[in-house]
Amino acid sequence: MNQPVRVKTLKIDDRDVSGREDETILEVARQNGIFIPTLCNLEGLTPIGACRLCLVEIKGVSRLLPACVTRVEEGMEVYTQSERLQKYRRMVLELLFSERNHICSVCVVNGHCELQSMAQILGMTHVSVPYRFPRLPADASHERFVVDHNRCILCTRCVRVCDEIEGAHTWDVMGRGIDSRVITDLNQPWGESETCTSCGKCVNVCPTGALFEKGKPVYERLKKRQFLPYLTMMREERR
């Protein structure tokens, strides 16, 4: 493609910003230090617009659109911090906390958890929807890693990194709706997986303590993410 990429000018929260026509609102916002909360998004992985935290208001558009997948357009007027958006974001988070069993005090990533941090950022101190307390298993069959479904928020970052970056596609999603679960291979124990390369990318991209490394104390369980944009950069441009 020899056509030069066009640059668009737009406003985000009444600030004039510019972005390439193939960039998303989220990318442009981040370049300009404007905060839009996200959970399922991770730089280097294909955005899917699933968590709905990044929804923004756009003047002239009746629907709320996810900033992570919506491309910038000339003259767009985007608003990211209205009261309505803040209310919806808090409710998304409350729904997530109520969905499964997120017990922060005994969790391996207490203090370095994106879900927990998001609650702090959005000023959420309690959950007003009833907790569901579902019964969910953990799978520690793998030699080095554990998956605890009680902490999973179904962001599918593990699925995407294993498919797009590692290429093994060990992780995928089984079931539908509230019964969905991430699984390894054909829902076999992770330790018996024939496709897993034990690279640990999934563990590092997981925003919560659902995927973690065995044998590390809590304060050492930091997720290492620098590899991701680097690997993406080294590979061919996909878009």
Binding site: I48, G49, A50, C51, R52, L55, R63, L64, L65, P66, V69, T70, K87, Y88, M91, V92, L95, L96, S98, E99, S128, V129, P130, R132, I153, L154, D172, V173, G175, R176, G177, I178, D179, S180
Partner: protein, 543 residues
Amino acid sequence: MTPEELRKLAESQEEARPEPRHRIKICVAAGCLSAGSDRVREAVQNEIAQRGLEGECEVKGVGCLGLCTAGPLMLVEPDGVMYQNVTEADAADIVQSLGRKPVERLVCPSDMSFFTKQYKIVLENSGVIDPEKIEDYIARDGYTALARVLEDMSPQDVIDEITRSGLRGRGGAGYPTGLKWSTVAKAGGSRKFVICNADEGDPGAFMDRSVLESDPHRVLEGMAIAAYAVGASQGYLYVRAEYPLAVKRLRTAIRQAERLGLLGNNICGTTFSFHVDIRLGAGAFVCGEETALIASIEGKRGQPRPRPPYPAEYGLWGYPTLINNVETFANVAPIIRNGGDWFASIGTEKSKGTKVFALAGRVRNTGLIEVPMGITLREIIFDIGGGIPDGHKFKAVQTGGPSGGCIPEQYLDMPVDYESLAKVGSIMGSGGMIVMDETSCMVDVAKFFMDFCVTESCGKCVPCRVGTAQMYHLLDKITSGQATMDDLALLEELCDMVKYTSLCGLGQTAPNPVLSTLQYFRDEYIAHIVDKQCPAGVCQMRH
């Protein structure tokens, strides 16, 4: 093949058979079939054989005759006598009565409002032709529209005609069909697809099923015309696997059409080729959503993706794709044959043509009806439907399935069209229409549809996945007498949030039954919460 050649072909098929004195048509669509119409057919055929009347009497299986509540249904021609609730034991009497007085106890009056107030376009062949014989279809001007399009019209001419007709998508959203075709036609690239969405998932809806079982060629013809208009050469018919009869009839129809050069390579001897393949669903309501359907055809998990970009620009395997509902395609051939202006003369200003409804629930005449847009709910329920049986009183009518709402008595004289239904908090949807009387509990109805949404949610986005489960839990608390007014406030907040933040139409419309019953029947909710009572006497209170 020119229209004349087609006509000659049809006539030659007809001439090959001598015209029988009596023709007995028995409905073999799924409804009557499950009531035993195949056994009735066999019994009648045996009876005829025993009396040596094969030369005079023809027994023919046809598609849906409409009055499903009275099946198995039978039509005797040329007398035009309709029999209802026919059993195998009646075979002797029926054959005996041919050419004489009809069997009184079985007669279904053909001057009922149920029949006279309908206007059949989509269903004009249903119940008339044998769905497994392409010759029957051709004899009723079948494929003449396609032939004319290929001979006389340019793709833009076709699009103009469809636009002029004002046809809107019959799958539920009511998007202007001409505009959609135009968008796909304008999209660049040499490869495009046409998809027919036959994944009818609304509980209780069987409009598309009937069309596919009763007149499959009508849909194929519509798809072929659409493919010509937008520049596609490959089509997919995505049918839910729970419709085995429809799938079987479609496969037969495709084969028959290909054999006659009306589908496949070089249709009607022109350079236009269009192949249609069938793809089966696997039991997910969400795959009726266009992007989830496309993902399913691609072999992926049937989950929707954010739009824009829309399938017209980026669809199946990334190519521009036209995706329309069964009923939409079924309207195409008549529009081409009779002209867009003719179609636009039926219906209201913004909603043209007719709509097929599956009338069900607490009404005398349940079944399939096709009525012009603009007819009132009162006419549908009390004239065509025959009113509420057993001395009960009308309470509400639910339209649009799990995405729709309940409409109360005060709107009975409202015209049925896209805008009016939306204004009262419901939607046209694909055509499900469930009538309720005072023995129905509106909170229970809302709970039923929410349960459906919980099970069918794909699970990708948080609001729908968890929000519907939470809303269901609250509705369950209300119907069991364990809720507080705070619970009701939370339910309303969740409805608002799920409606505006969900990724696709399933989540966005899941709160509709709750919102509409809260709007018109709030007192029932209050009674369940404050008085711990169910006014309709349906819900079991727990303590």
